[in-house]
Every structure is written in C-alpha cells, then in structure tokens.
Symmetry: C2
Subunit: 366 residues, 2 copies
C-alpha cells in the first residue's frame, strides 16, 4: 500500500508518472531500450529533452529571450555558478536572508572573496532574529551590487514572497526550488531562476536554470562545468546530462498538462489545499502554524503543538495512519507538511481529519 | 523487442536491474514509496546508500583508508575538483594526453592559471601525433608537479593502460569512467580514482570518487560543492545526492555479485568477449581495429573498413539486425562496439556473426 508522503524533497510523485516509467522501463516507445540506456546523443533522447523544454516553456510562459538549462549539482552548485557568471563591474551581490538556504548562498558568495580580493556579499535584509518566520519587506537595495538574491519559498520555515522586492532596476536572482510550477510566475521579473527538480518537477540530480540570454557571457576563466555560456552553447549537452531525470521531469510536466492544463488552474488548487490546512491550524486548540500569516507558503506548512513530546506523539500517530515524513526539519523541530503539486486535495483533507482526531484525543485527556 | 545496444555511454543495463527497478517502482520493500520519492535523510535511503558503498568496497577491495564519494557533475566537474582539492605546494599537475577526455582535463587545469598566477598544467606525454592510437610509455615524470593525471581507458580511441605508469612516488589520479568494474584494480596504486556511473555502474548523473583519506583537506576557500572535504565530512549528503542513480548503481553491483561473484571472474569474461572480437578483426579482410594491439581496451573496440561509405553501409546493415549505436564517435568516425559488463558474450558472438555476414557480402561483390 502506498503511503501519503509529506516529504520536503525528494517528495511524492504522481502515480501517473511512476506508472508510465514502469511501462516504458524495458522499451521506450518501441526503440528497444530503456531511457536509462539511451545515448544522450541519440535521436530518441533528443526528442525527450526537446519535448521537456517545450513543455516547461509553455507552462511557465518563458519568453524567447530566456534560455533553459538542464544541469547537475543542485541549488548548492548554483550558489557558486551564479556569482562566477553574473558578477559584473561590482563583483558583489546582496542576499535577503530568509533561512538556511539563503544563508548557504551567502556563505558561498563570501567564499569567493580570496579570488576577487574584496567583500563579495552583503546582506540586504534578514528575518533571522525572528527565527525566519517572515519575509523582510521594504528594505533598501544596497548600492554597488551586481544582483539581489532571494530564496522565494523557504522550505524549512514555510515562508514565501507574495510580492517580489522592488529592486530599483538591479537584477533579481531567485531560488524557486520549492515553489516552481506551483502557480504562475512572471519570468521577465527575474534575471535568473533556478530550481532543483526533486520537489515539484521530478527527482533529485537535476537542476533547471532559466536565465536571460543577454546575461550569458563567454569567459574562459570559468571552469567549463560552471559556465552558463558553455552549457547554453551546447544546449545542456556539454557533457552527459542526467538523462533519466530529464525524462522524469518531462513526464511530470505531461501530467500537469493533462491534469490541470495551466499553472493558473494548478495554482488555484494549491491555494485550496493550503487554505484547508491553514484554516484548520488557525482554529485548532492544539496545533498552530509558525510562519507569519501574510508570508505563508503554499507548498510547505510547518506547525507545532508547542510541546515537543506532543509533537513526537502526533508524528507517530500520523505515521501509523500512513502519513509519512511529517516531521519538521531537524533545524527547527515540530511538524511540516509539504504539499507539493503531486499531493492531492483529498490527501490534505485526510491529513486534517487525522489532526482533528489527534486533537480530540488530546483535548479529551485534559 | 529489446535491441543490442553498443553505446559508449549511457549504455545497456542488465535486464535484471531494469526488471528490479520496475518491480520496486510503486513501492520499495513495502515502505509505500518509490525510491524516487524517498527523503534522502530517510532510513530507507540510508540503507540503500550504505549497501551500495559496501558492495563497491567489497567488489573493488577498497582499502579502509580510502573514502567513497557519490557526487554529481560527471568527469567534467572532476577536472576542476581534482586540482582545487589536490594541489599542494606546486599548484601544478601533469597530464598524459591520450585523447579527448585527457585533453579536456588538461584544458580545465589550464583554466585555473589566472587564479594561481602561474602555469598549472604540463603535458607529460602524448599520443596525439598518432591519432591517440596508443598509450605513451616510458616517459619522464615532470619535476615540480602535485600529481600525474591519466585517463585509464579511452572510450573514443579504444586504448587502455595495461600497466600503470611508474610515477616515482608522485600521486596518480585516474579517470576510470569507461573501465571501472571491468576487471580488478589495485586501489592503493592511486591517490584518486573517479568514474561516471553511466557506463559500467548505472545511469548518467552520478559520479563516484574513491580518494585516499589523507588527501582530503579542509580548505574554506573551496566552494562547498567542489570540496572533497565537505562531501566526505557529510558522507555524500551535504546536499541532496542523486538518490535514484545511487539506487540503480546498487542494483548493478548486486547483479555483478550474483552473476559473476568477483571482478576476477568478470574480468575473465570481459577478456573472452574482447578476444573474440579482436581475433575476428585481426583476421578480417574487410574490418580492422584502430588501436595498437598492446593497448587494446576490453570495453571499447573501435574499427574501420577504411572506406567511409562502406562504414556507413555496415552501420546500417547492423542496425537493421538490431545492433544499435555501433557508429564511432563523431570525432573519429568508423565503428565502435562498446562491450561493457552488461553486454553478454553471446551478444558479441552475434555481432561477429553479423560482421562475418557483411564481410561475405562485400567480398562476394569484389
């Protein structure tokens, strides 16, 4: 029996996708091979990667002057690739510190100081003093930076930018790992978007970068694998790309098209799912959400009882009923329900029922 | 119907592995999830990665003072990771130039010159003047280098070191991408071994590094994702590893254990397979091998007819009979049969039969 998997990533996949992978395992579209066995230079794989990019472009409405790159190394490698490629005359970037992932991005920026010989990172704003429970707003954009970096959805703390910062013309770079494809975005607002695939797009080992074409510059001092120019120039085929992960992403996009049609429609359903859970949390006597109301994520919903033992009890109670990975991130504790695209509305209903049942038990014992 | 896939990589997988993936697709060992959906921090995935490492250590007889790392980015990212981590007092390495991949390794070394402020790469020896048809031997080890770099099996040119160079105590770093697990190696002879998984270990998107522990040094100037120290310290879990690719690798190792038991046994069969093909090539009036006899690879067998049109005719003839990806690398032309571990002896027999039939037709027409 399949469980309901609330993992923050890698995370639950649509059964449609798993079934299709299974069906095509021994023989993809009568070519006599599994996708795993295909040469990345084959016509068959070319068809897969082109179709995947086309689907992403259509769903996200990506303008023609943006390139889509299929890379490896996760967000963590982007933390280095972004500065070495996007640094301009200032060789400095500003980061909005909204949690563990933006902190890591800042740390990797700082690590480059010995190469450039000066401060490479400045913190534009931070919500650290309040345990990252909100998104900083109305901060000043620092002078003398090449770009502003944000983590748009904070998986661990369950916060999300509802409105992008006004950068006053400075380039905006954003980590969309845990919110990409969850609702429409206006790609033109960004200089660069990146996202790991393992939350809303597929499986671990694939990172998608969407970058404005005029920012891709040839620079022979950058290691080839870290150069957007090299990857763009070779259409993500400079070396062997993670072929199977790209195929899975294509299937996830196919499923979104079939199931929802557009990101507008998918966004509506995601809002309904999140509202259901947040409404319950706001009315519960046992559970409460930890993120500021106005900044609540549609994808990651952290909550606590306020009592560590009771938290552990609930996690156990839920697990026995087939709700897994509901435990909060090790750095914050409590619970977290990641309700990505692949998590159906009915599953969130079931989770709320489970929480209500637990609440009843707790209140009955008082 | 499944074809016989002679691709140089990604390449044919054992049907045992594909069937097992298929069986476990919806539910891995009754945990209610696919491996693709598992949190990399879950007990289930921990079990998978630990078992995979254990199997690799046993098969390759990896000494305890070597670490095994599961990384992303392929050999191409290693070309940068190796120098930034292994450079010592000289900040310079020597490369033996045996083809396209060692050339790329040298190019990435050279790209670091602006950072270190001096020449970072010297070519110790090269077979380029003879189109890389042999492995240079008895060359001098350059003075003032931190390590000697070799590509042990040259996928494109079909050459392989039968004896490692005597480095006179200098550290040896080797790319084993297309020969790892094909026969036993003495890991202690190397400072570092790396290999992409997509030839003999599984699927694209996973790179395995085997490194002597004392060479792993903390250096905060290295970007985290490029640091062996960071990956070793976090047991390949600094960020989300390519979980599914690690699982597939585990299944390939399981298959090797079940089917062959040891690399000694597997090496014997690989030699038999290669001998069959080389013997035919040495006696054919139409086909001939292109690599120097004493340096012939067990894994990649390039051959030509000496006539481009006839080459194309054969490739087409073979394809119609279900032998695919027999075309040589775009940089050299002709044909190439990659006969990795997953290619059974019987398939090589069939290929030779196919070549004999073609030869008969050609000679009959003379």
């Amino acid at each position: 029996m399949r469980v309901l998997n609330f993992s923050a990533g890698p995370s639950q996949l649509p059964e449609y996708v798993l079934e299709k992978i299974k069906d095509q395992m021994m023989d993809y579209e009568k070519c006599g091979q599994s996708v795993m066995e295909m040469s990345h230079r084959s016509q068959e794989f070319k068809g897969i990667i082109e179709k995947t990019e086309k689907r992403l472009r259509k769903l996200m409405n990506i303008p023609d002057n943006y390139k889509v790159l299929f890379l490896q190394g996760g967000g963590s490698l982007q933390f280095t690739m972004i500065p070495v490629n996007l640094f301009g005359e200032n060789k400095k970037a500003a980061v909005v510190n909204t949690g563990a992932w933006s902190k890591k991005a800042a740390a990797e920026l700082k690590r480059l100081e010995w190469i450039y010989g000066h401060e490479t990172c400045v913190i534009a704003a931070s919500s650290e003093e309040d345990n990252f429970s909100y998104i900083p707003k109305d901060f000043d954009i620092p002078e003398g930076i090449d770009y502003l970096y944000i983590c748009e959805n904070n998986t661990i703390y369950g916060t999300k930018y509802k409105k992008l910062p006004d950068t006053k013309g400075v380039k905006l770079v954003a980590d969309l790992s845990s919110c990409i494809l969850s609702e429409p975005v206006n790609v033109s607002d960004y200089a660069l978007i990146f996202a790991g695939a393992q939350k809303n797009m597929g499986i671990a080992g694939l990172t998608v970068v969407i970058i404005r074409e005029d920012l891709i510059k040839k620079d022979d001092r950058i290691p080839a694998m870290l150069s957007y120019y090299v990857h763009a120039d070779k259409e993500s085929m400079y070396n062997t790309p993670p072929t199977f992960s790209i195929y899975v992403m294509g299937l996830v996009l196919e499923w979104i098209e079939k199931e929802f049609g557009t990101l507008e429609k998918l966004g509506e359903i995601n809002r309904k799912k999140a509202d259901l859970l947040y409404d319950y949390l706001d009315n519960s006597k046992v559970f409460k959400g930890t993120a500021a109301k106005e900044d609540r994520s549609l994808m990651n919903v952290p909550f606590v009882t306020g009592d560590k033992n009771l938290d552990a009890e609930f996690i156990d109670f839920a697990k026995k009923k087939g709700f897994v990975n509901i435990k909060g991130h090790r750095s914050v504790g409590g619970m977290r329900a990641s309700i990505y695209n692949a998590m159906p509305y009915e599953a969130v209903e079931k989770l709320v029922e489970c929480m209500k049942e637990f609440e009843k038990g707790v209140l009955g014992n008082v």
